[in-house]
Point group: C2
Chain length 166, copies 2
């Protein structure tokens, strides 16, 4: 790792520190969206997520809290949140099949950096990334509302392991 990283780097499992508890609930009710028991549970799962989850994992976690929740409700709630731009849908470079992953994120975009060997995903924020988006916005005359960047490669740990096992 570089001694003076020019990016804020977060490591390993996703830690949802930027998410004030109840943020999603608040966003929805302030838009006049009905808050059902099931939705509360899915929102709770999304907010407390320690990592990116696909629809099946979200269902599993939701059912641990409230066994009655169905797969269909999860899909419908995810669609709802996507529609309001409150969560992002990622594919993480299709490293593990064609699943889609969901995450609730704070106000600032982050880049997903994944190791194609071990699958670990890190998230980073970058001033340079903000500059790039501004540049694109100007050059393409577009008002950016979604930005997604996924980077894949072999991480340092995996490179080291590859060498030591030769």
């Amino acid at each position: 790792m570089s001694a003076t990283p020019s990016h804020r780097v977060s490591t390993g499992e996703r830690i949802n520190d930027h998410e004030p508890a109840g943020r999603l609930q608040h966003e929805l009710s302030s838009r006049g969206i009905r808050l059902t028991r099931q939705r509360r549970v899915v929102l709770q799962v999304m907010e407390s997520a320690a990592r990116h989850m696909d629809a099946g994992e979200i269902l599993d976690r939701a059912q641990k809290i409230d066994a009655d929740i169905t797969r269909v409700t999860v899909y419908r709630t995810l669609d709802l949140l996507k529609g309001f731009g409150l969560i992002d849908e990622l594919d993480l470079l299709h490293l593990r099949g064609h699943r889609h992953y969901y995450e609730s994120h704070g106000p600032r975009d982050h880049i997903h950096v994944a190791c194609i060997r071990c699958g670990r995903v890190r998230e980073i924020e970058s001033e340079l990334y903000e500059d790039l988006k501004k540049q694109i916005s100007k050059d393409c005359d577009i008002e950016i509302s979604i930005a997604r960047t996924e980077i894949g490669g072999v991480c340092g740990d995996c490179k080291a392991k590859a060498v030591s096992s030769d």
Copy 2:
């Protein structure tokens, strides 16, 4: 559009000008991969693509050239090409459902900029993007082999239309 864009911008339908004819065939055979009749057709479709296609569209085009090609062969060939990093798999922000799109690309990465209203996708290259990747590579100690960036927003044309229809 800005008078002096700092990015190379390509507009509208994808024009595959960076792809020397037969590039994919050459890449495969130089790796000792068997070139079957079916694979040649799929490669031809990928190389001559005027835009991003999902698996179904690739199948349709391939069958227009050779009616015997099956869906399964298309999937298997796409997997093969992905495995060698010769094509990219995109979801274009899931703007049109959960389809996956495939594209063969030249040596340089480009950014996909999509209008969330009209769905038009532009591709741009950017020096800033190259800088960003270098920075990430250093900060995260990773050797980057895939980079994908998708940007969404309302394009100038659609903004203009929205105003004029008010």
